[in-house]
Amino acid sequence: MPFLPTSQAFLEQSAQLLEAYPENVRALPNYTERPTNVAKRQKSQSKRPSPQESTPSVPIASLTLKTYSPDSGIILKYRTNKQQEVGRLMTGLGKLAAGADVASLGLSAPGLAGADVEMADAPEEGAAPAQPAKGGQQQQGQVQGGKGKKKGGKGKR
């Protein structure tokens, strides 16, 4: 279950998945307000107020997007806590729903696609019916790279 590094990568890979399985792909955006951070912060504040804990309003909500194809079992995931990405991601899902192809998504936000994404484009272009399984493997291979990156990002936050 991959977490993709950029929203662009997520939308492009989702479009590819949709190309391979046009009839049965679901998108599952999930908005979460995380209660644990708040509870912890308030608790520790009431017990012993420390200057570190009193920093104002740490963002606690996040948006996780999943695209799932039940036929192949492929799940693509992307998580963000940046508000400015919400609109673009939701419109992106709309484009996917309307059956936009990879190319039109790529054009909509140039320069954001990472090297990983370009690599993934190549094998899918000659999409024959037999290809999806292969595409799936490729995606999973790539997934691990994405995971590693994601972890790095988490540390920085």
Binding site: P59, K82, Q83
Partner: protein, 127 residues
């Protein structure tokens, strides 16, 4: 399952759901989209959109009328859905994105500090 509601009602309900979730600073909003492919006409599919607060432990009534107690009888589950016809997808998603943007207020705003840092990094890379 409750019948699908119209798009207008859907947006109202979604706005409510998002605002209550943000006010509580607790919980989540799950959305689902899935194409409804018609095997007979084989035209462009309409899209089924579902929204829920994910409280699956709440009591519920099954299809056959049986009542399932649920592991937490105190909570209630919010759940609604709508079907968007193929020709209305674009208009729907424009509103959908707006409603989501307006509702998901708990997230990180654009950070000026980080932007400045990024610029510095780019300059450093050029030099």
């Amino acid at each position: 399952m409750a019948p699908h509601i119209g798009t207008e009602e859907f947006f109202e309900a979604l706005t409510n759901l998002l605002s209550t979730t943000t006010q509580k600073a607790h919980g989540s909003v799950s959305l689902t989209q899935k194409p409804l492919v018609d095997p007979v006409t084989n035209g462009p599919p309409s899209i089924l959109i579902r929204a829920s607060d994910g409280n699956t432990s709440a009591p519920r009534v099954k299809k056959d009328g049986k009542i399932v107690k649920g592991s937490n009888p105190k909570v209630t589950r919010v759940k609604f859905s709508t079907v968007v016809p193929a020709d209305g997808i674009e208009a729907f998603y424009t509103r959908y994105a707006e409603v989501c943007k307006a509702g998901m207020t708990g997230m990180k705003k654009r950070d000026r500090k980080r932007k400045a840092k990024g610029k510095g990094g780019a300059k450093a890379a050029k030099a």
